[in-house]
């Protein structure tokens, strides 16, 4: 019995650990998509977030400053996607990919210049498990919560706030209108361009934070390729979760669970390389079978003045 309880504990803890960055990234993707902009740049924004968070933490010694750097650079990279798309009406696939390519090139370049290192940054100040005091006494849940850092709680708050913003406020309704039908939104006097920028910048902020979580909470450094395609998976999760923050969270937990299974199976009969492909195989299966009923906003990629 003790073994099973232990396994369950490990699965839950690592599910959460794997899920948090996915939740952040896919909520970000949801905002982008809801405002009518394809969330194809998430991977790049996440890389930027992970890398510049480490830089911020390295130069200031504070992981909080690191987070701030991560978010700011996530937004800057999202603006590349945004400006190309909104201002210059570049095809969304191209502008999204350009963000990913640029970020994947910039990070190793700066890594080389600043730290003379190929692929790995030095260790920096990172987030530790949070001391939750009395809560730790709660059976099972207490020990699970004890494993989490502050970003876990911030993520939960962001999901709730994001949900209310998107579905309960006038601004959220307007943003969704822009995503569904920018021409119609324009005719009722909604600032279409503004909401598109807002959506894409929110996606940058969320993905920057997701990247920062990878480098400053899961680890304490930047490693080239550490995002490992999570930005693309986030895009799928967002659609899978009906582009709602709550749906994105549930979808991320689902994916996080399979990601966590790796931990259990590793060292078992199945070679770890195969186990590690699980989340990606799952993504593919979801794309093929799970997205049939899911729909993205009707106005994706459309502009109000055409």
């Amino acid at each position: 019995m003790g073994d099973w309880a232990n396994i369950l504990y490990v699965v839950v803890v690592s599910t959460i650990r794997m899920s948090v960055p996915m939740i952040l990234a896919s909520v970000g993707a949801a905002f982008s998509v809801r405002s009518g902009i394809m969330a194809l740049g998430c991977e790049g924004m996440m890389i930027a977030g992970a890398f510049f968070a480490v830089m911020g933490s390295f130069f200031t010694g504070s992981p909080w400053m690191g987070i701030l750097f991560g978010i700011v650079f996530g937004i800057i990279f999202s603006l590349l996607h945004g400006v190309l798309n909104i201002r210059y009406k570049v095809n969304q696939t191209l502008s999204g990919m350009s963000v990913n390519l640029l970020a994947a090139a910039v990070a190793p370049l700066i890594l080389q210049i600043v730290w003379k290192s190929k692929g790995i940054s030095p260790k920096v100040a990172s987030f530790k498990k949070l001391n939750i005091g009395i809560l730790e006494e709660i059976p099972i849940i207490g020990s699970i919560l004890a494993e989490q850092n502050i970003l876990f709680y911030i993520t939960l708050i962001l999901v709730v706030v994001g949900y209310y913003y998107m579905f309960k406020t006038p601004q959220g309704l307007r943003m969704r209108m822009v995503g569904e039908n920018p021409v119609a939104a324009n005719t009722v006097g909604i600032n279409v361009v503004g909401y598109k920028y807002l959506g894409v910048m929110l996606s940058g902020a969320f993905n920057g934070l997701a990247g920062a979580y990878l480098s400053l909470a899961q680890l304490d450094m930047y490693i080239d390729g550490m995002t490992a395609g999570r930005g693309y998976i986030a895009m799928v999760i967002s659609t899978f979760g009906k582009n709602s923050p709550v749906g994105a969270m549930l979808g991320s937990l689902f994916f996080g669970f399979f990601d966590a299974l790796q931990t259990i199976f590793q060292g078992g009969v199945i070679p770890s390389q195969i186990v590690r492909t699980l989340p990606y195989v799952l993504t593919m299966l979801v794309v093929v079978f799970g997205l049939k009923s899911a729909r993205n906003p009707a106005g994706m990629g459309k502009h109000h003045d055409e």
Binding site: K168, T169, R174, E180, N181, A185, T187, V188, R295
Partner: protein, 512 residues
């Protein structure tokens, strides 16, 4: 009192002068019909009034004050709302969300859904609409969606409501209910502008008629009681128009085109249940029927676009089988049902559209490669012969009006010397001038000895052009008659599946 005035409004687009010193005024409590052909500048003028376009010159006075409308929001805030031809609704949103978005009632940071629902319900009840505010718009009929658009305007406290081609998408019954709504709005003190090119409806609803032509205001003070359909259409087109041309066939020859045992099953449902007919040289065979009774399947079968259960098709004694390409090259010309989805690639140039499907023709090639020069000459000839109104043949097809787009389709089909023309709704959504032109072209072709099959939802069109009329009902031909043999009412009865036996005819006589 004048609700609003527009003085000396001009607006140019690259290549065209859309509005040329137009003056316009609107009184309180009136329904004004802004009449004109497609491309005359009606919509442009109203978009200026709605702040969507900015005029090059001119002034706008609203309720006695000069206003500068920079965006639709300015116009909405002043009380000017527009119901667009293509509805500005989000199908995935509820009726309520569609109505309130942009002007949401708030409680704190959030939308006050309770108050919003009350307000929307009150509006719905005021007009006795049978719409649930929580239904998604995609579940509503077109007529209901239009009502949602009107509610949107009323929710924004509009005093002036502009409706762009409001009847284009409605069934006759829905048109009647729309008119009831418009009259009620007028009683409530609203001023209404209807943009339209439909003359009968204008006469039925308008208090005053304006006519625009080629960006110029021709007449602003027409009393519908004094106007006639003929006088209005002359003003719109700028010359005498022959409405409902009739030209009986002179030399009907041998059978050119023969269809036997045509059966089509789609998704397990028999859409066409065994029909036979033939068309002679120099004859127009009209097919009347309410849409959805097999017309689409019939068209697809005759042009090689589907695989019927059974069909024997002979053209001049030769059987035709195979793909759509074979059909096309055997001399079956096709004017498709919907020019936007089947007839044209709207993102491509007029020139490219004119060769679609005929690109294999040697007359357009040199040494097996498409010849730019030949295509250019051919396209310019089409432009001349078919009176396609465009600055050049190098602009995208989507930049043209519906009538001119349809002329591209017709030019393409007619200029490749087909033996048979399968024409589906050839004048749907085109203006009076283009309609007259297309009709006369069809008749010319017939007089040259071609066989024409005309499928149209417009009974007037079928009756005036056809030399013989079939009625299609639930996949069967239920009647064959000569023009004039059956009245409009009798055809209407056949189209809805009724028989016209003696009894019914007597009844009709009594009603008449």
């Amino acid at each position: 009192m004048d609700m609003l005035q527009m003085k000396n409004i001009s607006k140019s687009f690259p290549g065209t002068k859309a509005l040329d010193s137009v003056d316009f005024y609107l009184k309180e409590r009136e329904i004004l019909s802004l009449l004109g052909e497609n491309g005359a500048g009606k919509t442009t003028l109203m978009k200026v009034l709605y702040g969507m376009l900015h005029p090059d010159t001119g002034e706008i006075y609203y309720k006695g004050e000069q206003v500068h409308l920079k965006s639709p929001l300015d116009a909405i805030n002043k009380g000017i709302c527009m119901v667009h031809q293509h509805f500005m609704l989000v199908p995935a949103f509820t009726v309520m969300d569609n109505i309130i978005v942009g002007n949401e009632p708030k409680s704190g940071l959030f939308v006050d859904e309770k108050k919003a629902r009350e307000e929307v319900k009150a509006l719905i009840n005021r007009f006795n609409f049978n719409i649930n505010p929580d239904t998604r718009v995609e579940k509503l009929s077109v007529g209901e969606q239009q009502r949602v658009e009107i509610l949107k305007a009323l929710y924004r406290k509009a005093d002036v409501i502009i409706l762009d081609e409001p009847t284009a998408v409605l069934t006759p019954h829905e048109v009647d209910s729309l008119f009831v709504i418009l009259r009620k709005l007028k009683e409530e003190g609203k001023s209404i502008v209807i943009i339209t090119h439909k003359l009968r409806e204008t006469m039925a609803i308008a208090d005053r008629i304006n006519v625009l032509r080629d960006g110029k205001m021709i007449e602003t003070d027409i009393d519908p009681k004094k106007a006639t359909i003929h006088s209005l259409s002359e003003m719109m087109v700028g010359r005498q128009v022959a409405l409902g041309i009739k030209r009986p066939a002179k030399n009907i020859g041998d059978v050119a085109f023969k269809v036997e045992h045509l059966k089509v099953i789609e998704d397990g449902v028999a859409k066409i249940k065994g029909i036979d007919f033939s068309i002679r040289k120099g004859e127009i065979l009209g097919i009347a029927g309410i849409e959805g009774n097999g017309q689409t399947q019939l068209l697809e079968s005759l042009t090689g676009l589907n695989n019927p259960e059974s069909m024997k098709l002979t053209l001049k004694g030769k059987e035709i089988k195979g793909s759509a390409d074979v059909f096309l090259r055997s001399g079956i010309g096709h004017i498709p049902e919907d020019r936007l989805t089947m007839g044209l690639a709207t993102e491509m140039t007029i020139k490219d559209n004119l060769i679609l499907g005929y690109h294999k023709s040697p007359s357009l090639q040199r040494n097996g490669i498409l010849s730019k020069k030949k295509i250019r000459d051919y396209s310019n000839r089409c432009k001349e012969d078919f009176n396609i109104k465009t600055p050049t043949i190098d602009v995208k097809a989507k930049s043209l009006s519906g009538g001119n787009q349809q002329k591209i389709v017709i030019a393409r089909t007619f200029s490749h010397d087909p033996e048979v023309i399968i024409a589906a709704h050839p004048t749907r959504g085109v203006d009076v001038g283009a309609m007259e032109y297309i009709h006369s072209k069809l008749l010319d072709l017939r007089d040259e000895g071609k066989a024409v099959l005309l499928i149209s939802a417009d009974l007037d069109e079928v009756r005036s052009l056809s030399d013989r009329i079939l009625v299609l009902y639930e996949g069967r031909i239920v009647s064959e008659s000569m023009p004039g043999e059956l009245s409009e009412v009798q055809l209407g009865l056949l189209m809805t599946g009724n028989r016209i036996d003696e009894e019914v005819e007597d009844e009709i006589r009594e009603i008449d």
